[in-house]
Symmetry: C2
Amino acid sequence: MIKSFEKPILTVDVAYLSIHNAQLEILTIRRQNEPFKGQLALPGGYVHCDQDTDLRDTARRVIAEKTQLEPDYIEQVETVASNTRDPRGWTATVLFMALVSQSKRDNEESLGSGCQWHKLDSIQSNELCFDHAVLLEKVKERLIAKSRYTSIPLFLLPNKFSLSEAQQFFEITTLSGLEKKSFRRRLLDAEIVEDTGELSKTGRRKASLYQIKPGVGVHFFPRMIG
Amino acid sequence: MIKSFEKPILTVDVAYLSIHNAQLEILTIRRQNEPFKGQLALPGGYVHCDQDTDLRDTARRVIAEKTQLEPDYIEQVETVASNTRDPRGWTATVLFMALVSQSKRDNEESLGSGCQWHKLDSIQSNELCFDHAVLLEKVKERLIAKSRYTSIPLFLLPNKFSLSEAQQFFEITTLSGLEKKSFRRRLLDAEIVEDTGELSKTGRRKASLYQIKPGVGVHFFPRMIG
DNA sequence: AATAGATAGTGGCACAATGCCACTTATAAG
DNA sequence: CTTATAAGTGGCATTGTGCCACTATCTATT
């Protein structure tokens, strides 16, 4: 028996993160409609009861409408709701964090129109519509926190990467400088990456290229880093 | 401009956990109405757009309708949604984990009618309505995981507790046996509890009673335990 | 009063993962 | 051939935990 309460609006927003030129970037779209027309937004949309079987479905569909990019990692961060965050009324949004590998990120061809990557540092809070600046802050916090004790920054790397690149990516996501030897031991001892036998093409001394071991998911390190 | 999609139902469910007689217990209510009449449910309810300013508000209100118990710790776990979890249609529920200190837990007087504590181990999946067994499983996983590297089990303890009691509670929430000396060092070095100067009243040798330092929240240990 | 039993609490060393830092190795550029 | 730069290693210090025996304090029993 459904009571006649006014139902809130339920949406899904996805923060797509990637690293480009040694900087975190986020995928945004520019709003075509009021409110906040012309401002930046995280890709997102309404839950469609008739199409989506669950929230991950919604996330996938909403993403597919904007871009063909398949994230390499996706995680539900938090559900944010209030009667003030959207002028249209009481809304709740389920926030996802999606990580895109550099290999896919550099494949600009698959990026939908209206989508644009923005440097995370250069984005102004007031450029973002609704409370998306708050959502972005939550995603950043989650990424920083989990990068300290899990292997999720690996999902931002290109398919094949050197250990130095890996360290650089972890330094970006943890906002801290890391020690070379400690980092390498930590990563290699976890047995989540493997040497491909290939060497990097550029640079001084050629670095061995590694890849994530097939089938390996998120690894939890026994200690925090840094 | 709100499109005419059918809006999903949005609810909040709260898993109230406490420890009693060295066992994890959960607060349930017995459903008075169909569907699932007579079965057990986590306390929860619809988001009321006119009353609640955000989800924590909803959680508080829903809780207050059933019992006067104020949780000592509350955390949003996950939002679970699908078109199959509730026969009434497409629903989404924001799941919270709430920890109740033993001091409050033993204050049975404030427990609302219809509410009942159940040993977590003795609860059968098919006693629970909807997908509440799944929700409960998610909460258990979260509690176990976070108990390994944070101080949240402290919120289940009575206001004043011995280190042995603290260890026992951590052993319950982590599902593992812990080593006495290691545990004590870990807890005391974190500087999140303080000696009250009081001694326990029962037992052989009297234990020093500790309490959470005022104003101290969740502590993250540098390493996992156990 | 003496003793046994139980729980509280400590000392000290081993071990595991990381921090630190100097060192060697490989490659490109000049 | 030399030099600069980035890759990669050796080895010890530090930190937090595991382990285990030991001491301390209280109750119950005889």
